[in-house]
Assembly symmetry: C2
Homo-oligomer: 185 residues x 2
């Protein structure tokens, strides 16, 4: 049976660090943001924060609120993976799309706005905010899509407020492997 660990969390909270820890334990990682960035490029646009945000909105408008999740499910089918970690859940509509096809554990990775801004400055990915205003605006956009509800309704919450990358990795691995043992029977 297909098992999906669906990872949500605000920008910079540490979702990818958590997902990478699971990759080391044999899980296949699918990044929702990559799907959006690929689609942004496909439409001839630079995949910066503004454009990816607009393409995300367009995709939802054209194909419904679970549009990005549906594209991910297509990738998962092609990969023939049975243990998948999906990095970057933004709404309960996406979680519900996954729940139709798999056993799903929804995990929220949390950190304070201050810490997330620091972590994003360290990361410096192309679509990461450069100023505090851009950071607040990106938070607002994510919250507008309903990420707060996904975080509030998570099955598990892992705090990255005071954790080292190693400790965050250990914690999510523990939580996921306990669940997987239970689900795989």
């Amino acid at each position: 049976m297909l098992r999906i660990v669906a990872i949500t969390g605000m920008p910079g909270a540490g979702k990818s660090t958590a997902a990478q820890a699971l990759v080391k334990r044999g899980w296949t990682r699918v990044v929702m943001g990559d799907v959006i960035r690929a689609e942004t490029k496909r439409r001839g646009l630079e995949p910066d924060a503004k454009n990816t945000g607009e393409v995300m909105k367009l995709l939802r408008k054209e194909k419904g609120e679970s549009a990005v999740a549906d594209l991910c499910l297509e990738s998962i089918t092609k990969l023939k993976a049975v243990k998948v970690v999906v990095d970057g859940i933004r709404s309960m509509a996406e979680v519900e799309a996954f729940r139709k096809e798999a056993a799903v554990l929804l995990v929220a990775v949390d950190a304070s706005p201050e810490r997330r801004f620091e972590l994003l400055k360290e990361r410096g990915r192309k679509d990461d905010p450069l100023t505090h205003e851009m950071f607040v605006e990106r938070d607002r956009r994510e919250l507008g899509v309903g990420i707060g509800k996904a975080i509030a309704l998570a099955d598990e919450t892992v705090s990255n407020q005071h954790a080292t990358a190693g400790r965050l990795a250990a914690e999510i691995t523990h939580v996921v492997e306990q669940w997987d043992k239970h689900v795989a029977g």
Copy 2:
């Protein structure tokens, strides 16, 4: 200087258990739900889930989104307390009202929907949901007020998914006392 630990979290997540732990460490507890329940009674209504929900909506409509926080601030002034734990934050508008008057640490207490439903069944307070439908409806109402955003933007997150009451108490006490040491200088 007034310090407020503002506790948010979905119904049944363990907010009161966390707040009570701080009371044992000398913090004064103010319960936002009590303010709403008192107001519900004052209007001649039974303080059950439906009526308290409606009075909460009315209060916000009449006095703005931070109405309940403003009533709490009045109580806090009367109490002359300097270390206050406010139990039951439902929106960022409330947090911002507190931030105008105090140093605020916003703490989210999290647990999965399944665990929260179990914990609420054990508690059985008058306004607690009796059926799963009522539980889902109450979640929806809280999310409608914007509690998901407050949870997503918390300064600290404490998971009550696998914790005993004692462990939850120890964790929130640690987090709050570290912050308080820092703020009180």
